[in-house]
Structure formats: C-alpha cells, structure tokens
C-alpha cells in the first residue's frame, strides 16, 4: 500500500515470514480515511501473527499525530484483546522524534517494547566505527587524494554541483573537495559519532563552513530522493554485508542524470618488493579476515557489476595504485602501520586467532613497510574507482 504526491512516498507492508509490519516514508494525512488501507494491513497482521509482531518504523521519516494516534490505537487495542501477543517496535537512532514518541508506548502497555536499531546489527560495524579507525582514514585520504583530485572530474565532479559524501568517515575528503571543486552544497553522512565529531572539529579548526555533517545510516537515509548531482561513497561498499542495499540508497538520492562514484579495494592485490611473498600472504589473509566479518575488501573489480545491477548506465571504471613513490614514503608506511594496528590487533583477536598466526600476519605488514622505506623498494596499494549515471 502506498500513496503518491508526497516528497517521500508512504508505504505500509507486512511480511508474514518475519512477522514484521513496516511503515516508511512520510505520512501526514488530514483524516484517517486516507490511511485506511494501511490500518487494515496492520489489523490483518495482528490477526495473523503468533507470539511477537515486529513493527518496523526505521524508515518512517515523518508521521503526524493523526496517523500516530490511529496506528497506536490499533496496537493498544490489540494488547488488550490479545494478551498472548507482544509488540516490538523497531525505531532508528537517526530519526529523533520516532524514538521519543514510540518509546512512550511501553509505559502504557508493557507488552509493547521499543528497540533502537543501530550499529550492533552490522557484523563488522564496531571496528570501522570506533576511534581506532581515525588514523587509518586520515593517512589513507592524504595518499588517495593525490590521485583522485585529477580523476574526479572524469566522473562528473565540477564546481557548483550539489553533492553528498556517504560514509564520509572523518570528513577529510569532503573538506578537500570543498576546497578544490567548490560545490554549491555538500552533505557528508556517516554512522560514527566519533568520526563526525572529529570531522566537525577539523572543519571548524580550518574555518570551513558549509559542509553539512550528518549522522545517519547509509542503508536508510533521511535524505530525499533525486537530490544530488554527485554522490560519492569511498571505501565503504566493501565493508557492508549487503552492498546492494547501500547502492540502492545511493541511487535513490542521486538525481536522474547525476552520478554515483564509489572507490573500493582489492586487498589481496597489495604488493611490495622486496619481501613480496610475506606481503602477499598477509594481504590474502586480510581479505579472509574481513570476509569473516562479512565484509568484502576484494570488491574493487566487482564494482562495475554492482553498478550495472543497481541500474546505472554510462559506467566508468578505472584503477590507480597508491605507492611509496607518490610523495613521502613515510606516509605510505603510516597507512600500513595503521592497518597492522587494527587488523592484526583488534580484528584478529576478535576472530580468535592464535599468537603464532598474528605474529606471521603482522610480519607481512612490517615487510610492506620495509619495502616502502627501502631505498630501492616499491610498495603499492591498488584502488578501483567506478561511477555510473542514474538514467534520466
């Protein structure tokens, strides 16, 4: 059931398999007659389920009191008529008012509980969101920017456009883009409050205004449809267990004729000389480690397929190699040291790896650093850049 004419269409759906009734979009009816069909779906759902009915309002962007009251009435009446039933309302930590409004219901009926959906639902989220990732991101962007600043115009970035950087991390890419390309507007979204706080501090420190940093979940954003000329999402499709769902959102917020730009790695292709074998072994293991946490850091070359499957046309793919010769080799070494720290530290430990494994795992990173700093050495980190146009 959906209604048109609103900025974000309203939908009410019931999935019998997961016993989940979900509401999404904007619902601001004048009278309850306008949402009668959605109410019927809820009533039927209540009639059908056993045990628990999940009510998913994570993607509910707006709901007025008129609508809130009717939906809530149905649920409260059901609590009274069906003491055997429990209701779990799943709200999003991103949408402030839903969490507050729905949280009250538990005080009216203990059969209704409210859960706030957040990072614990993503398998690898805790690593990529916490502060130990900040040094990695900072050094990485410094290295990749040297290449990307000349690549970006080929993918549609130009002055005056409206852009979004989704999964912006500590926001340094947004700052660099702002300085170099002067877009009319930049929205930078991430799900790490620590990274966003850092990003806002950095922007304030440099006197940069105009970047709209926002906390959000990239797989269900508050941003409206068809808004942005350019949507970037760097090094992040590869850390989602469902890259398709993320791409669908990037597609949604991009305007027809605009472009979505993604960068991803293929970690097993990191290389170095001398000590190439140890380096190779470690990066093969990096790919396995991430896949243990349902992240695909081998995604780079698959991005063409992902973009095509998501409905983009005019797909452009290229790759570049960040190397120790790009500038100060110390920068390259810093990136690797930061990887070693998190991958062989926190992540390997969390997977339950033995000390022997971890030692060998670390050795590859150290050899990569050795290659980077060696006067005759060469060390590389390949990146795949891909963009596609949302058809007009």
């Amino acid at each position: 059931m959906s209604s048109t004419g609103l900025s974000i269409p309203f939908k009410a759906e019931f999935d019998a398999n997961s016993q989940e009734f979900s509401l999404s979009g904007v619902v601001r009816p004048r009278s309850i007659d306008e949402i009668a069909a959605s109410i019927s779906i809820l009533k039927e759902a209540i009639g059908e389920v056993r045990g628990v009915l999940y009510i998913n309002v994570r993607r509910l962007v707006q709901m007025n009191n008129t609508a809130f009251h009717v939906f809530v009435r149905v649920v409260i009446d059901a609590c009274r008529a069906r003491p055997d039933l429990r209701f779990v309302i799943v709200t999003s930590s991103v949408v402030g008012w839903t969490t507050r409004m729905f949280a009250r219901l538990n005080e009216i009926e203990p059969q209704i509980t409210v859960e706030v959906y957040d990072s614990k639902f993503y398998p690898g989220q805790s690593f990529v969101e916490n502060t130990s990732f900040i040094p990695i991101l900072r050094t990485q962007t410094k290295m990749t920017w040297r290449h990307e600043r000349s690549i970006l115009p080929r993918h549609g970035l130009r002055p005056g456009i409206v852009m979004a950087d989704i999964c912006c991390g500590i926001g340094d890419f947004a700052v660099l883009v702002q300085k170099e390309f002067q877009p009319a507007r930049i929205v930078a979204l991430d799900h790490s409050k620590a990274s966003l706080a850092y990003a806002r501090d950095v922007a304030a420190g440099f006197g940069i205004t105009g970047i709209e940093y926002t906390y959000g979940d990239a797989s269900e954003m508050l941003l409206e449809d068809n808004q942005f000329d350019f949507v970037s999402c760097r090094h992040s499709l590869q850390i989602f267990n469902q890259p398709n769902a993320l791409l669908a959102e990037l597609y949604r917020i991009c305007r027809p004729g605009g472009r979505v730009y993604v960068t991803n790695e293929k970690n097993s292709h990191c290389l170095g000389e001398p000590r190439s074998q140890s380096i190779q072994w470690t990066y093969n293991e990096v790919a396995k480690l991430f896949s243990h946490f349902e992240m695909d850091v081998e995604l780079g070359p698959k991005s063409r397929r992902y973009l095509a499957d998501a409905g983009f046309d005019d797909i452009v793919v290229e790759s570049f190699m960040v190397t120790n010769l790009d500038g100060d080799p110390r920068d390259f070494a810093d990136v690797i040291a930061a990887w070693e720290d998190v991958y062989a530290g926190e992540m390997a430990v969390k997977r339950g790896d033995s000390p022997e494994f971890i030692q060998r795992f670390r050795q590859g990173f150290q050899d990569h650093i050795f290659a980077a700093l060696h006067p005759k050495g060469y060390a590389g980190w390949p990146i795949w850049v891909a963009s596609g146009r949302k058809p007009l």
Binding site: G5, R28, N64, G96, R100, Y213
Partner: protein, 172 residues
C-alpha cells in the same frame, strides 16, 4: 507567500525567517502544511550541527503547529510564521485568524502543557482518545520535543502561539 527578513522584536532571539500567506490560500490545500514545514525546516536547520536531522525533527514539530492552524483557522486574514533562534533553541511564532469561540480552547490547551500532569495527560490521551485532540498536539510538543508553549493574545480574530523548541540539544 511572502518571505521577509524583518519581524517584530523578540528579546534575545535572533530572527531567522518570516513567512506570510493569505489564510484562504493556505486553507486551499492540506499539503501546504507538509510543504511549508519541510521547506522552513530545511532553511532554518542548514547551519545547525546536524542539519539533516535537525530539519527532520523541526519539520515534525512545525507541521503539527501548521496542521493545528489549518484545522482551527478561519479564512479571513493572513497566517504568519516567524522563526527565531537563541542558542540551542528555535522559537516559532505562529499567528492565524480563528473563530472567537476557539480562543478559550487554546488558552486551556496551552495551560495544560504547563501543568505537572502534562505527561500523564499525554499518555492518557494516546491510550484512550480515538483521534488526536488539539490539546494532545500541544502536549506532544511539550513531551516529545521539550517545547515551551505560550499564547499571545493578539487583537481578534488573530491568535499567536509561541513555541520554543530546544531541538539542537536533543538532536546532537
């Protein structure tokens, strides 16, 4: 619709935006409430710490106020909405014409938001009323948006609701 930067003084508050519209035009389409609240929220929130979420939250509150004036307003004269800011708070001053008999009702609805039992009344109303009453809309703002609501008695038929929304602190 007119948008201007000048407005009546509101001590300590910085004016952000003012909007006026013929009430008759406003009342001609229900979707004006949604459209105006979305638009105003976006303008007002652009320099908040988290513009997107502030705007979503603010739009939610403003829409309720606009719906209230849509349902209770009368078609002669103008609806006016001025937004001010002081620190973490936005102030909405919403004036609209309404039938004389309704004034008392608004006085009571506003005073209910100040009473100690506002929260209990709010819960009671969602668990027992069939449809939301106008006073629950103001209670909702007080309970869920930490709003301070006040009524300015203008010359009839105009009525002005002054609503302080400290959303920056809730959002960020």
């Amino acid at each position: 619709m007119e948008i201007a930067a000048k407005e009546p003084a509101e001590a300590g508050f910085e004016p952000l935006l003012q909007l006026e519209m013929e009430m008759e035009t406003f009342l001609s389409d229900w979707r004006h409430c949604d459209q105006l609240s979305t638009y105003v929220a976006r303008m007002v929130s652009h320099n908040r710490t988290d513009p997107v979420r502030h705007s979503n939250f603010f739009s939610s509150a403003l829409n309720e106020l606009l719906e209230l004036s849509f349902r209770g307003g009368s078609p002669e004269g103008q609806i006016g909405c001025v937004i001010y800011r002081q620190g973490a708070t936005e102030r909405v001053r919403l004036s609209f014409p309404c039938p004389p008999g309704h004034r008392q009702f608004y006085r009571e609805a506003v005073s209910k938001t100040h009473r100690e039992d506002a929260y209990a009344r709010y819960l009671d109303s969602i668990s027992t009323d069939l449809a939301p009453s106008k006073d629950v809309v103001l209670l909702d703002l007080a309970v869920n948006f930490d709003a301070q609501v006040r009524l300015d008695e203008d010359a009839p038929p105009f009525l002005t609701l002054v609503v302080d929304l400290p959303l920056e602190g809730i959002v960020s």
